[in-house]
């Protein structure tokens, strides 16, 4: 099946449209079946994926607007493959764990449309197509936050939408400028990413374009000065919204850096390592501290999420294979861990309708399974060895160590601060005396929640112990990416910093 990527995009779209005809009492089963089928399709993609091939696979290209060089151009490589699987998995588990009663039908259809946009973003190789999915993903998310959110849902939803929209419009101008340069150089219009990879841009042009793209991606990640929309969005979003937002939507930004900024503007990326690393470190340390100060469990995880995204950015801008493949692995691990943590918060919120830690305490006695899973995820989140969180964080930081040891040490404090705030959540909520009488009769996880959470626990441990099946394809494609960047780099500084492999220096 060579057109499996199209199937992956259009199956949820069609299923979403058909969903309108399903009776609302049966919609949950419909949603689970569709999302499971989609997940199996994505697994099939992995099975038929040639892990030794570093290039784009399952490529489809149909000219859409030849007049303007826009085409329907899809492909997947080791970098995007696992993020696609992550999207389908989190959508499936999000639907399984849904506890929403009102307008369930609208929710499930919206989630399916959101899945279309997410997969589209990660498999598009045409920049306009990428942009279309990128922008379109805002609409379902706006609806999810706005319709099922908390008391300040409208404010949160609109803030989320406008922030991201503004950033991506600047990126659109950048895209159009790059297309114009391509047209001026070659005489034809093209928005194909693979065509653009062949462009050698002057450094001053790279600088302008780098910042135009940066704004679009940085708001999505969200990087430090632009992060203010995220706590609101998480705080107000329903559980499934937070899960998808943290697990997949934020990855669009960091994926954008890897897919666009680095290979298109290698010199500019190297030139701006310092300011971006400083932003990333501020993001890591500052938001970790803010996370510690939160009283609301969900806000702790929201801020910790920003903090971990900082490590991803740092790894990406390490400009070597370890750093970049570590950051991509960290995207997956962050997606799984923070998704699971948001689900866990949702579980307790459904029972008690509060997320304040002061309301809890001693929960481990009444909800032992819940507490166990929470602790496992906490360990993964702080990066304990043999969990998924360790590998990505370690590789990212090890990669950046070659660039700047001091900054890496600063960023490494995140592991300590992260342990502090996450463990304090665990301590305040699960241990100590069972002070609040309302907590005495809480039910432990039901089967629905177990079905959603146990696979995540399994993945956390499996990939923590044996990451090779995932890490290898990522590594392959990252090597190809770094080679491309190295080849394209024009300044001496960039040539020196972009390391293809450890012995590249001796080879020269």
């Amino acid at each position: 099946m060579s057109n499996i990527l199209s199937v992956l995009i259009f199956f949820p779209l069609i299923a979403g449209v058909f969903g309108f005809f399903v009776n609302k009492n049966s919609i949950r089963v419909y949603g689970i079946v569709v999302a499971a089928a989609e997940f199996l399709l994505s697994l099939w993609l992995w099975m038929s994926f040639d892990t030794t091939d570093a290039g784009m696979q399952f490529v489809e290209k149909i000219s859409l607007i030849p007049e303007f060089g826009i085409s329907y151009y899809l492909g997947v490589d080791g970098i995007s493959l696992f993020i696609v699987i992550l999207s389908t998995l989190m959508t499936l588990l999000g639907i399984v764990a849904l506890s929403i009663k009102e307008d369930l039908k609208n929710m499930i259809i919206t989630l399916l449309f959101l899945e279309v946009a997410m997969i589209g973003v990660f498999v598009s190789l045409d920049v306009i197509l990428f942009y279309i999915f990128w922008e379109f993903s805002l609409v379902p998310m706006l609806y999810i936050i706005g319709a099922w959110g908390g008391p300040k849902k409208l404010y949160a939803a609109i803030k989320f939408f406008i922030y991201t929209f503004a950033g991506s419009l600047v990126m659109l101008v950048g895209i159009l400028y790059l297309a114009y340069i391509y047209h001026a150089t070659t005489g034809v219009w093209s928005f194909s990413l693979t065509d653009w990879y062949g462009l050698l841009l002057p450094t001053d042009v790279q600088t302008i374009l780098f910042w135009a793209f940066f704004l679009g991606f940085a708001i999505k990640v969200p990087m430090f000065p632009f992060h203010t929309w995220l706590p609101y969005a998480h705080g107000q979003a329903p559980t499934v919204g937070s899960v998808i937002l943290a697990a997949v939507l934020l990855k669009m930004g960091s994926y954008g850096f890897v897919r666009f900024s680095l290979p298109l503007f290698p010199d500019a990326s190297v030139a701006f390592i310092l300011p971006i690393a400083i932003l990333a470190i501020i993001m890591i340390i500052y938001t970790a501290m803010v996370a510690y100060a939160q009283k609301d469990m969900k806000q702790v995880i929201a801020y910790s999420s920003i903090s971990h995204m900082g490590v991803i950015i740092l790894g990406t801008f390490a400009m070597n294979v370890e750093g970049i493949s570590g950051s991509i692995f960290q995207m997956l691990s962050h997606g799984i861990v923070s998704g699971a943590l948001f689900m866990l918060v949702g579980v307790i919120y459904d029972r008690r309708h509060t997320k304040l830690m002061s309301e809890f305490g001693g929960l481990a006695k009444v909800m032992p399974t819940y507490a166990t899973i929470f602790v496992v995820m906490t360990m993964a989140s702080v990066g304990l060895p043999l969990t998924i969180g360790f590998i990505g964080e370690y590789l990212s930081l090890a990669g950046f160590f070659k660039v700047s040891p001091i900054m890496t040490i600063l960023a490494g404090t995140s592991i300590i601060v992260g342990a502090v705030y996450m463990l304090s959540v665990v301590k305040k909520s699960f241990f100590g005396p069972l002070a609040n009488p309302e907590n005495e009769k809480l039910k432990d996880l039901d089967s629905k929640e177990l079905w959603a959470l146990v696979p995540l626990v399994a993945i956390v441990i499996w990939l923590g112990v044996y990451p090779k099946p995932v890490l290898e394809p990522i590594d392959n494609s990252t090597k190809a990416l770094v080679q491309l960047m190295h080849k394209k780099a024009q300044t001496d500084k960039a040539k020196k910093i972009i390391l293809v492999s450890k012995d590249a220096k001796e080879a020269k």
Binding site: L64, F68, Y143, A157, F161, F165, L176, Y180
Partner: protein, 496 residues
Amino acid sequence: MAPINFDLSSLNLVTMSPMLVTLVGALVILCIDLIKPNLDKTLYVTLAMLTLFIAIGANLSLSTNQRGLFDTILIDGVSLLGQLLILAGSMLFIPLALTKRKFHDFSYPEFFSLFLFMVFGFQFMAASDNLILIFVGLETGSLALYTLIAMHNTRLAHEAAIKYFTMGAMAAGFFAMGAAAIYAVTGSVEIFSIAAVMQERQNEIGMLIPVIGGALFMIVAIGFKVSLIPFHMWTPDTYEGASAPMAGYMSIVPKVAMMVVAIRLFGVYMELDIKVVKMAIIVLAVVTTTAANMMALVQEDVKRMLAYSSISHAGFVMVAIALDTTKGYSSIFLYYGLFLFTNLGAFAMLWISRHKYNIHHDRFHHPYSKFAGMIKIAPIPAVIMAVFMLSLAGVPPFSLFWGKMYVLSAIVDSGHYTVAIIMALNSAIAVYYYLKLIVYMFLKSPADNQGKVVYANRAFSLELVIGIAAFVTITSVFYINPLMSFITDLVGASGY
């Protein structure tokens, strides 16, 4: 004095055929009313539709680059496209007359006859490159339009018509003065010979002042008609007073006609590379887009919001005139072609929800609160309205995204990066007020006085128009390529 010689071959009446068709159609409707009054409005609607249909056919059958009416009519790609947009917009408008509730204006045959006269005037503007004929066309169209607005026959409609009339009269004055100034410099009212003379005398000392002065008068005149800030004062009030479809119509068709004039006239200045005029247009356009967006943010009424939004869209497109590239000029037509369907669709959605009397608000027919919780009461109209709003906001994959992308791309190509960034960020401001309506429709709970009110004016023809508009808005990705090459070919063939 030499005797004046007319060469009848230069009459070339065929170039006027699309206009003559609408003119004859208007007269036929008048005559029918004369002979047999009290016929139903469906007859006139159908007749007007047929007239416009024939006019489109006549328009499409014309070959480009010919002149007629003693060289005062110029049929080139731009005039073909202009007329096509005018006729298509009119065809979308006319069926909106067949509403369930009875409205004063649409029950008169004179309405339809005046409407066709107006279309005739606008066609004339688009097809002529003679400043006097453009003026005649402008006045024919505008005077008919003032009357059409007033025929809605509410207090606000009268106010709207009078406001528009006074402002329009002033704009006409500016146009006449501008034309006079240009005539004083060049001794001609034909745009092509104006260009030639200007080029010749460009470097004479003291020439620049009258040349630029003429241009500034023209900018003011055109600014009034396409509602650029600060010449926009009439727009929101006029749109509010006019019936919803008429407001939607005004936001497109007269502006298209004026845009064609602007392309022809300022094309000359751009060709001569007169920086002041270029700068003036860009500054006006940027100010228009930004300020109109700010004002739209605070509106309480959806129709007034759409009025300001259409001002900001006009500003957005206006930049393209100052670029002097084929892509820039093509993007104007592409943008208005897409905007026509989306915006008229949005106004038609207001029209379909229009109640005979004001039951929602002391003053407004369409306050935001009227649409609260529409998804619960009427899911499909709510979704369609949301599609129109997202399209206006420029969210892909809806149609106006392509227009916006093409205009932005044209701006970037010509090196105006700052302008491109400002325009892009403006879209982010604009998305707030479009989202506001979506938030009301989808995320708020319905008000008590609702029920079936949303559907008050429902009729098959309205649903058909809205359906067509929604279809065009949603499926844009499939036709955008042929449309783009069609427009670019025609504009390129006209030498722009």
